[in-house]
Assembly symmetry: C2
Homo-oligomer: 947 residues x 2
């Protein structure tokens, strides 16, 4: 067994013929190692003695590698000529005087760099070591054996990177604070981060900054190339020129003219593009083609026809390709180029019945077509079979940060990994493998989502697949990597739970669009559950913080405490605001206390940002600056914090009796009270009802609960209520042998008496069926009673996933059963209480149709009847993207398809079929005709199924 | 000229054969005189010398009168045998040794009493002298000459009185505090008040008190009879027994049985009734017939048919009449009896198509049929021609206090006299002349309305008629009578204005149903106007108070300060609450200041009640106790004070630009702002627009207003705004010669710029036409351009009247033109801006159909087209009373009849015809198709009419 030890005798080779960026990365790795071992590795001088040596280099650019290969000590056959591959070998006595060596041989610049960073990875150094000051666990006797020897595969996706966007106020302030601007010094930090995360491709910041002018000058671009970072530009910035450049260079006397107008200022624009290509041609780039209006607007006015737009773009493409032939390579197919089908450009690409789109245009032949998500993490169109063979391949422009419709989210990273897993794995299945680029805004607090996105792109076999639980493994490993050095396992396990909890809250509703009306304060206990999760995050994170050393605080705050507590505190604030509003509407005196709690949350919101921005001597200063509360427009304009509601109590003691999950209440007053009937305990699984005695006055009331029913028990039957008291009503169901009805009275002594009728039934019911109660049946999609697969496909359960934590989906994801006769299916069995119509709602993931045609079908049948096929697209006459349906679904993170079915009293079977690709079913809800479900965001809890 | 002086030599006769009540009243008058003159009149002993003598007595019950008549000194021909008539004569030397005398000769007990009180009246003593401690103006040389000699007419209405009702908490607490209960001592105060106000009839308090049991015993009834007060009972208390009596006397061993059930406990009930009649037969009564359930509920269950109900009532009436024959008079027609057609009893009386009602039943032959109002001061059915000849005549049960639907009002008297004038004069015209009884709740603060009601009933020729301005004369006189002694004329004139202002506010909306949503905080300036009136009342009343002496404070507070300021403060509170709510919704930082102002109002509400209840050593203690804020049910249950809304400002300076009358605002922010166009100045009468610069943050913003338009002027163009600044934009229209359009910008310096387009046009327009602007035309009904009367009838303008201050109505009020060919009409001329459909709304007084048939028609025509007749009753298939329409109209005090008409571009004429009786038209609004008027309670201001 060969072995290399990371002791005080470790050395690194150095070759001046190496790529300079590779040598820079080797220096970074040496720093990493010193954090682990405490020793600073020396530099090896050929011929000297050396106990442990790290030999690194790029194939055909390293004398060491040449020598080792010639000596048969390493085999570079599987490396040479590959894309970003490296060989990683621990061997003994590679050279005279050297005892043990680790030999890293990259197929190219980045292959070598990834190979070098692989050492850090194996020694437990986080890729975020310098980005978040994540200190690795110290090791006394660090070593690697030949057990780690490997030759890597090419990455799954060719170009993998991110987009620094929406950079004000957060990224811009951060860069200015630390580097004096968005310059090369700043980008060096970004390049390191990108490479450590196994990315290779970058769209630089472009609002009020110019990558190739601000380095100063070309310095940022030069440095990128040195590091092997492939630069590109965002969707509306052609020919390697930043979007703002033109506005700086234009003018009446400018050689580029004074109009961003390809028709009227054709010569000036062409010259502008040519000069951009000439300027940056020395570097590795992927060149954006096409043209949009200034500042990401439409190119032609709203009156221009589709054909006019398309013709203009065709002309632009032709011109741009010619410019590339002229300036870079006559064989334009060798020059990486892309066009991004974002916003209305998607329509230009597909065209419509009358007008042929750009698809198939020879100018696009070898150009990568970058598709987009719906701005919120669900991919829009994917390549259909006809498109699949496009030689330029496909890319995906994905959003973890958004400044645009349907709503902006720029504050704390809000990415829930299962969504990325599900959507990006599917995109890969559909052939999107050339470029993956994710908009991460200011990067700060996006680390978890970004890490996963790039790891998935690098190795989809490892992190993709058909089991959503892979994301749990990912989070486990990620948390170990970041927090392994700072907390014991019990603490790290708490961190993993917090990571899931806070991103889970955001999967239900993101920060900016949370408000007091999102969750109903009482119905189905949804607000209480969100609040409980939030409070637990705040409590656990605070407890963990006490155990973290000062050195580790930077990583702890930036990667956990701030994003988790910032999120939890915001959710808490809005839940309390909703509660306050409802309480005030009901004149509960407690509303005034809740208003004070809102104050505390508002203060805490500011305090958490201040904490994040001051920890580690202001290492993250600037990253907390995005507005994030109470958006009423798509962006932060006119946003507002909660309104506090304060009430005056009634003049005399006033009682409100209210179930804890119902906004209706009784007062017990003589004339206008509405006695209630509680039927919960007809459910076999319910033997308790909690209700509140609430004061509507500053004057407390005295109460007494009376009943003649021996089977009713109360946690308390008399007392005085100042604000609110919760009472538990329970029934010992073992004593019941039939349905019973009873009455109890709640007396507000001296003022009135409220009357409640209670119905209860014994345990039990027909085996394996979901039971209707209160007029509805709700079933989690994962709880089918049986399933049937076809030869090649079938439903699988996704856990974790979506708003409710699980879902089902057909795999392979590309399967389309619309035109098939045999389809995979799942079956659900339930007991309806009446013959008649039921409103049937399928809650689906808010995916968009996988083709540009606005069609996405589901199929179902009731009680073995004919299959019914419904298009989930509600307005097929308009493009789905930017439709009202898109906006609602993207905000609420659910697609609801509602129809009506006839059920029979007794057992019913609902069959759900595989149909269009991309359908993810989360829940099924049936509501009896005439019943109105209480208003809520997440809907009812799952119905009871008799065991 | 004969003359009697009220000097220190004044004496009163005394005859023991006089009615004791008459002598008691004479004693009261002697007290009154001493307040005026400072002298206590002595008692005259026959044969003594006397300079000035008051001789009083009842015809055929006084030796003095007999002697004077025999001596030819007085003539009693026109008095003898009359109902409540008196002769009032100043003569010289009536008897030996007597120089001057005032001789009062009443036709009966009450005639004499009214005659006696007439002295006080002539000397300026208020009828409220003892009820409100109204001190008269002192007079040095008080005298009366024969210029006042008169013989009165019989009163217009035979029985005139009130109902003490809904007596807890106010009246009950007051009575307990001052008299230890609702007993004879208490009633003596009430009887005096009633007689001084020229009433003669009373329904006593009946919730938890029993008039004929609590005196103690019969004492209250005996005392009533002594004073000449005719006792009756309310609508559901037959046979002179109080509603609660049965519950006190019932029981298993009771002679009356133990069920208020005429079928199952017939003997017990009959015995109960018989004993009541026997007990009270010695006194002057009007006996209530019929039967309802206990505590004013339905007699039979909800399942009983109309026929079953009617048959039962027929049986009850027969039994009751027989009991009266047995106990009081074999000739039952001589016994005053009544039945009240209240609640569902109205339906029993009219029956329906299948079932003949009680109308015409021989048992009701001589029984007065008491009709009712709609609970809010608008009469329900009136006698139609067929019914007019009913020998028992008709009565009216009217409400100035209500505990019931559609809403309760029990706090401060909320009666606007023109409503009473219009409705009760009309009722009189329709033959309702036998009994007028008004529910005045606890009486406290009802004095103005009650005075007018009884004065109108006493002398409808004086206070009725066809000119609403009579109510202004009434208020003038009333105010002089109450405040003449305490303030100079300028102060009294202010008081008159305050009386109109506060009752005018209540005519728009009563206290209990006021809330933050009633008036729109901005639209059409309606809330500002209500607030301005309220603030002026508060300011003027406080200023007046400083001038009032301690002695006069009792009357000042009870009759003016408390009802006016209590009302104004409550209106102010709700206007501020609405403002606060809107401001908070808009995130104006000023919302927080407004919340504090609400606090002040809530405290002031309590302080005003405390003031009223402590003034004059607690003379009114108890009367302020009714709940009066924020009713959400028909009664006070679950009522609530305003919710205060508090906001957190935005993090950075934020500007809102808002017209003062529009809830839409601009922020000037980059992406989501909506630039506005202001067209107000297209109106010939508008050359100014006021708008607000508002801060949405604790951080002030700096602004600058820019424009290139020389014709736009601003009251200020730059500054800093902490909360709000009002800017006036004006145009010198004299300089315009055509329509112009301009733009101005409001810059929030450093943050954004809002853009406003202004359109303006020169003065002028076609003469005499109302002009459309912003898509509507609004015309006050009084502003017709021409009118046409028929031979006997025509429209007259009512001023003051209703929500907007004026209206029109056809007189005589009994005219019905539904079946006529010639109808009176009025015409309105207006200029429409487009050809097309307009929504036409007639705002009418919320009167109910005058017959039981749910039909009440209006007629109109547009541009000389065919007359269109519309039934104002929206659901003619259900009885109007208790219909949803009734409830809405009674709350909002307006009936809106909406239809559509086709207008032509240019001049149009709308003709409104006399049709059903009882129609009162207040306003007309035309809205162009596609235009939505801004939401408001009172609607737009009247459109401009070119002079």
């Amino acid at each position: 067994m060969s072995k290399v030890s990371f002791d005080n005798r470790l050395m690194f080779t150095y070759e001046s013929k190496s790529f300079p960026g590779v040598n820079k990365v080797a220096a970074l790795v040496r720093q990493d190692l010193s954090l682990v071992t405490g020793f600073h590795a020396g530099e090896y001088i050929r011929g000297c003695k050396c106990r442990n040596l790290i030999i690194y280099g790029t194939v055909d650019r390293s004398d060491y590698l040449k020598e080792l290969e010639e000596n048969g000590l390493i085999d570079l056959t599987d490396v040479r000529g590959k894309w970003e591959v490296y060989s990683f070998q621990v061997i003994d006595q590679p050279m005279e005087g050297v005892d043990h060596a680790l030999v890293i041989a990259g197929s190219d610049k980045r292959g070598t760099i990834y190979g070098l960073f692989h050492i850090s990875e194996l020694l437990g150094v986080s890729p975020l070591v310098n980005w978040n000051h994540v200190y690795p666990k110290k090791k006394k006797n660090a070593f690697l054996t030949d057990g780690v020897n490997t030759v890597t595969r090419e990455p799954s996706v060719r170009y993998r990177g991110f987009f620094i966007n929406d950079e004000w106020p957060a990224f811009g302030n951060w860069a200015t604070e630390h580097f004096g601007g968005i310059n090369a010094e700043c980008y060096e930090r970004i390049f390191e981060l990108l490479l450590r995360l196994k990315g290779n491709y970058l769209w630089p910041a472009m609002w009020r900054s110019n990558f190739s002018m601000d380095g100063p000058g070309l310095e940022s671009a030069r440095l990128a190339d040195e590091y092997g970072v492939v630069m590109s530009t965002s969707h509306h910035e052609p020919c390697m020129r930043s979007g703002e450049e033109y506005s700086l260079l234009r003018g009446e006397s400018s050689i580029y003219g004074d109009a961003w107008d390809y028709v009227k200022n054709r010569d000036g624009i062409i010259r502008f593009w040519r000069d951009g290509l000439l300027r940056n041609r020395a570097f590795e780039n992927v060149i954006t083609l096409g043209m949009r209006g200034e500042r990401d607007s439409r190119l032609l006015g709203p009156d221009a026809s589709l054909e006019e737009n398309i013709e203009l773009i065709r002309d632009v493409l032709k011109t741009q390709n010619n410019l590339i032939r002229e300036t870079i390579d006559e064989d334009v197919s060798k020059v990486p180029r892309q066009i991004v089908l974002f916003s209305e450009v998607e329509e230009f690409f597909y065209g419509n019945r009358e007008t042929k789109g750009l698809m198939g245009d020879p100018e696009l032949e070898d150009v990568t077509l970058i598709l987009s998500d719906n701005n919120c993490g669900y991919t829009r169109t994917l390549p259909d079979r006809k498109m699949a063979q496009h030689p330029g391949g496909y890319g995906m422009y994905y959003h973890m940060d958004m400044h645009g419709g349907p709503y902006s989210f720029k504050w704390i990273g809000a990415t829930y990994l299962p969504r990325v897993w599900e959507q990006m794995t599917q995109a890969y299945d559909f052939g999107v493998r050339q470029i993956w680029v994710v908009n991460v805004g200011d990067i700060g607090t996006q680390e978890l989502g970004l890490s996963y996105f790039l790891d998935l792109a690098y190795d989809i076999e490892k992190w993709g697949g058909t089991d959503a639980a892979i994301t749990q493994r990912y989070v486990d490993e990620w948390a170990e990597r970041q927090f392994g050095g700072m907390l014991p396992l019990s603490g790290r396990n708490k961190i993993k739970k917090i990571l899931w909890d806070y991103t889970g809250l955001l999967e239900k509703r993101r920060h900016e669009i949370m408000n007091s009306d999102t969750y109903h304060p009482l119905h189905f206990g949804e607000a209480d559950r969100v609040l409980a999760t939030s409070l637990e995050i705040l409590k656990e994170a605070a407890a963990l913080r006490k155990k973290v050393s000062e050195q580790d605080m930077s990583a702890f705050v930036s990667l956990l405490y701030y994003p988790a507590c910032g999120t939890a505190n915001l959710m808490k604030m809005w839940i309390l605001a909703g509660r306050n509003k409802l309480y005030a509407r009901q004149n509960r005196i407690e509303a005034n206390d809740v208003a004070q709690e809102i104050d505390e949350c508002v203060r805490e919101d500011a305090a958490l940002i201040e904490d994040y921005e001051t920890v580690d001597n202001g290492f993250y200063k600037g990253f907390g600056k995005s507005e994030h509360v109470g958006f009423v427009n798509w962006n932060e304009e006119d946003n507002r914090y909660p309104v506090k509601h304060l009430v005056y109590g009634a003049h005399s003691p006033r009682m409100l009796v209210s179930r804890k999950d119902d906004e209706h209440y009784m007062t017990g007053l003589e004339w206008c009270d509405h006695p209630q009937t509680w039927r919960d305990m007809l459910r076999p699984d319910v033997d308790k009802v909690e209700f509140d005695l609430i004061s509507g006055s500053d004057k407390p009331f005295k109460y007494r609960i009376h009943t003649d029913c021996s089977w009713l028990e109360f946690s308390r039957t008399e007392g005085e209520v100042k604000k609110r008291e919760r009472i538990t009503l329970s029934v010992n169901k073992a004593l019941l042998d039939e349905k019973v009805t009873g009455v109890f009275l709640v007396e507000n002594i001296g003022y009135g008496t409220a009357t409640v009728t209670v119905e209860a039934a014994p345990m039990g019911g027909p085996e394996g069926l979901y039971l209707e109660s209160d007029g509805y049946i709700c079933i989690e999609a994962e709880h089918f009673s049986s399933k049937g697969d076809t030869a090649g496909a079938g439903f699988k359960v996704l856990t974790p996933y979506g708003r409710s934590g699980s879902a089902i989906k057909v795999f392979p994801t590309t399967s389309d059963f619309k035109g098939e006769k045999k389809r995979p299916f799942v079956e659900y069995r339930f007991l309806a209480s009446e013959d008649g119509e039921y409103e049937l709602t399928f809650e689906l993931a808010p995916s968009t149709p996988v083709t540009f045609t606005p069609e996405q079908y589901i199929g179902f049948a009731i009680n073995g009847g004919r299959i019914r096929i419904e298009n989930t697209v509600r307005q097929p006459d308009i493009p789905f993207f930017l439709s009202p349906q898109w906006a609602i679904e993207a905000r609420d993170n659910v697609k609801k398809v509602t129809t009506r079915v006839k059920c029979v009293r007794g057992e019913n079977t609902l069959t759900f079929y595989g149909m269009s690709p991309g359908i993810v079913l989360e829940r099924i809800i049936l509501v009896r005709e005439g019943v109105s479900l209480p208003e809520s965001y997440l809907g009812p809890k799952e119905s009871y199924k008799c065991p």
